[in-house]
């Protein structure tokens, strides 16, 4: 039931939610998270960001984690969309949707999926500052800690 996309194009939150739930009457709640490009990093202005990924491994790993979440929380479906390529501040980066009979499963699965995407999915961000300088973003230890609370991934 999982929908997985790695794409340059933006996603449509309403359309993806409708596709996930469309016509069903057994879903009680849909959790979602959208990640957005921020306009500053460490107090410096960002002009844009480039997302690189590992084609093949990315989709395979995303499908695997989506199926794990569906089983762990008895989800009725979930959607993972991650954008790649050049993105500007204010643009969407990532979408997670999780549908379940009850809200706590939907919200926990949403948190799990985004924690996992941050720490185990092969994507890398390169920020370009308004000065023209560019740098690869360092991994954050808080992200590993957030992912670790779910046990072995």
């Amino acid at each position: 039931m999982a929908t997985i996309h790695v794409q340059q194009a933006d996603f449509d939150l309403g359309a993806e939610t409708a596709a996930l739930t469309g016509g069903r009457t057994d879903i009680g709640g849909i959790g979602s998270f959208i990640g957005v490009v921020r306009g500053t990093a460490g107090g410096r202005d960002i002009s844009d960001m480039t997302l690189e990924h590992y084609p093949g491994m990315t989709e395979r790993a995303m499908m695997s984690i989506a199926e794990t979440a569906e089983q762990r929380w008895f989800l009725q479906g979930c959607t993972l969309i991650h954008r790649v390529g050049l993105l500007r501040p204010g643009e969407n980066i990532v979408l997670v949707l999780a549908a379940a009979p009850h809200r706590q499963a939907a919200l926990e699965a949403t948190a799990y999926l985004i924690d996992w995407l941050k720490t185990r999915a092969p994507f890398w961000k390169k920020e370009r500052f308004s000065s023209g300088e560019a740098r690869w973003v360092d991994a954050r230890e808080e992200d590993d800690a957030a992912a670790a609370r779910w046990g072995a991934l």
């Binding site: 990640g35 997302l51 690189e52 990924h53 590992y54 093949g56 491994m57 395979r60 790993a61 991650h82 980066i93 990532v94 985004i114 995407l117 941050k118 720490t119 185990r120 999915a121 092969p122 994507f123 890398w124 961000k125 390169k126 690869w136 973003v137 360092d138 991994a139 954050r140 992200d143």
Partner: protein, 87 residues
């Protein structure tokens, strides 16, 4: 053996992908890293530890995350990259 590089490893090596045929005793990720590091100054820079000794490079063998002692063999697809920063 197909080797892939991503993010700053790709930039330091100067290649996104290369086909290599290491000797038969290069049978783990750690040994492959040592062998690849001797191929060029770009490779050496890519695989160098940080001044404080942290291992910055992550590896996947056939699209699964791997460890330094994970086996590698002819025909494998082996990718090197920094800790991931998506999401």
């Amino acid at each position: 053996m197909k080797i892939l590089y991503f993010a700053w490893l790709r930039e330091r090596v100067g290649l996104g992908e290369e086909d290599v045929t290491p000797p038969a005793d290069i049978d783990t990720v750690a040994r492959l890293v040592a062998w690849l590091g001797a191929r060029s100054s770009g490779h050496a820079a890519a695989f160098a530890p940080t001044p404080d000794g942290r291992r910055l490079v992550r590896c996947a063998v056939n699209q699964d995350f791997a460890q330094p002692n994970s086996p590698v063999a002819p025909g494998d697809e082996i990718a090197f990259f920094p800790p991931v920063t998506g999401g």
